[in-house]
């Protein structure tokens, strides 16, 4: 039982390491092209963006398939996002800028696209730090509020990507389109729930109180819908 439960998780864990392996192999064989540091930097950034997008895919997939137990994958992908983003930042600070803090300060102050990268990284860092169960317990209700900042991080990331380019926007537009779908899904759910809550909850409650015995079917129907709504709210979203 445990075996069956762990296998896909281990596969997912390993697959997430493959991009890093590819990058390291290209580094060893001097296959990063004429500007290797930038290539390294950009490839790590690309993968942290892709993993963030994958992280954001988990909740919609879970909702649509009703498949339970995906929270661990969301956590795994979220932590990998942080992992690749950290490598991206380390390459910038260490290889690209040579830890020259004055130059780094000038570069960040003068480069508005980096502001968005920094914002996204600070958010992802905060989310990574608050991943352990101890932190989830300690933060209580605020944990969910904090982790909703992933949406802000994703928007900052797409601006960070878009603003550094000179002309060709095909790739950032592709990722923007996917992000619009991912965030649009949540917006649609939120709107639906708000409408639902306004319409349904007072009537269901009335039914609960008045017709508990007389029409059990209706009550159940109402309750199950209410549960669905509550699930949306209580689900820890990353």
């Amino acid at each position: 039982m445990l075996d069956r439960f762990l296998k896909p998780y281990i596969v997912c864990f390993s697959v997430c390491l493959l991009p890093l392996l590819g990058i390291v192999i290209d580094m060893i064989f001097d296959n990063l092209g004429p500007d290797p540091i930038q290539a390294l930097h950009i490839r790590l950034g690309d993968w942290s963006l892709r993993l963030l997008w994958l992280t954001l895919c988990v909740t919609p997939i879970q909702k649509m398939t009703q498949w339970r137990g995906m929270a661990q994958y969301r956590k795994l992908l979220g932590l990998y996002t942080f992992f690749y983003a950290s490598l991206h930042v380390i390459v910038y600070l260490w290889l690209d800028q040579g830890l020259a803090w004055g130059a780094i300060a000038t570069d960040i102050i003068e480069s508005s696209y980096i502001w968005f990268g920094v914002s996204a990284f600070v958010i992802v860092l905060a989310l990574a730090i608050t991943t352990p169960k101890v932190m989830v317990k300690r933060l209580g209700r605020n944990w969910k509020k904090l982790h909703r900042n992933i949406y802000i991080a994703s928007i900052a990331v797409i601006i960070h990507y878009y603003w550094q380019l000179k002309g060709n926007m095909a790739e950032p537009l592709f990722y923007l389109l996917i992000l619009v779908l991912l965030l649009g899904f949540r917006l649609a759910v939120w709107f639906k729930n708000r409408k639902f809550t306004k319409m349904m909850i007072p009537t269901t409650r009335k039914i609960k109180v008045v017709k508990v015995d007389s029409s059990a079917d209706q009550t159940l129907a109402g309750q199950s819908k209410t549960i669905v709504i509550e699930e949306v709210d209580t689900e820890a979203e990353i």
Binding site: P34, D35, Q38, D96, A103, E110, S111, S112, K166
Partner: protein, 318 residues
């Protein structure tokens, strides 16, 4: 004569071609030993160009000691007519027909006309110019160009006193330049411009070769402008038209993004691009642990060209 500025480019910043070659040999040896099954290192399909025939006597390819590795320069080009990817344009540009080539010189000149490239070159003495090349994207390299001063060409066609600006135009050929047919990112053909005193400056050259060989197609063959104190996009490739004008032409990037790219585009660490810093640059070929280089005003050519802009606010005229 080799024109060099007083500040020679320190060798420490440049890939030693010997090291570069050794590294390649090592990789090839590893491949031969079967350490890897497939060719991990893609040797870019860049068939070596024929040695340049018209070099002046006494030419020595000393540049190879100082310049960025030719492999990097040949495979790292922003040639948007072919591709938005710096490596892909190497292969794509090979489709460009460059022989025969003619250049139209018109506008405020005594002798306008369409000139065959051979005729233009036969009047010029080719020299080597080792220049630092700084891209607006904050990377740089050192290229040993072969060419001649633009001034010496302009003097042959005799600019009128009314000529205040020079406009350059790249070939328009959607059949061989795919993005001219498919992409509206920029308005084609590509156009650049210089003030007449910038155009007449001895550092401003038209290049027909580099590294002792004919200019590769992806680097702007058969004729490109090189203005070493300005960002790379000013150094227009595959020039087919040179117009002398009374008024400033609107360059392609200025038209596309007027707040990002000005007419002058002088290299200046104090004036950032609206979205990124220009304070430093990555020197290509410098190795993983070499820090970025501090960008110099006018790309290090301030002594030669600062007088051209003595009364100008460089933040305004960026």
């Amino acid at each position: 004569m080799i024109i060099k500025t007083h500040k020679s480019i320190p060798n420490s910043e440049i890939t030693d071609p010997v090291v570069f070659k050794q590294r390649r040999q090592l990789i090839k040896a590893m491949l031969a030993l079967g350490i890897t099954g497939s060719a991990m290192y893609s040797d870019f399909s860049n068939a070596s160009e024929a040695k340049w025939q018209n070099l002046p006597k006494g030419y020595q390819p000393k540049a190879a000691l100082n310049a960025t590795s030719a492999d990097i320069v040949k495979n790292h080009t922003n040639y948007y007519e072919f591709s938005y990817n710096k490596t892909d344009s190497t292969a794509l540009a090979q489709a460009l027909p460059i022989d025969p080539w003619s250049v139209e010189i018109i506008g405020e000149v005594e002798k306008p006309g369409v000139y065959h490239l051979e005729d233009l070159l036969s009047q010029q003495t080719l020299q080597e110019y080792i220049y630092r090349f700084r891209c607006v994207e904050a990377w740089s390299m050192v290229v040993p160009w072969i060419g001649f001063p633009l001034a010496s060409l302009l003097n042959k066609v005799r600019p009128l006193s009314t000529a205040q600006f020079v406009k350059f135009t790249t070939l328009l050929d959607p059949k061989s330049m795919p993005n001219q047919a498919d992409s509206r990112l920029l308005e084609w053909p590509y156009v650049e411009g210089l003030r007449i005193d910038e155009a007449m400056h001895p550092l401003t050259i038209l290049a027909t070769g580099m590294y002792g060989e004919a200019l590769p197609k992806q680097n702007g063959a058969p004729l490109r402008l090189v203005v070493p104190w300005k960002y790379g996009f000013k150094s227009i490739k595959a020039v087919v038209k040179i117009e002398l004008l009374k008024r400033a032409p609107l360059s392609t990037w200025s038209k596309s993004a007027p707040n990002d790219y000005g007419f002058y585009a002088n290299v200046n660490p104090e004036v950032p691009h609206p979205r990124w810093s220009q304070s430093s640059e990555r020197v290509l070929g410098a190795g993983f642990f070499t820090p970025r280089r501090k960008t110099e005003l006018f790309n290090g050519y301030a002594d030669e060209v600062a007088a051209l802009y003595s009364n100008m606010d460089l933040r305004h005229f960026f």
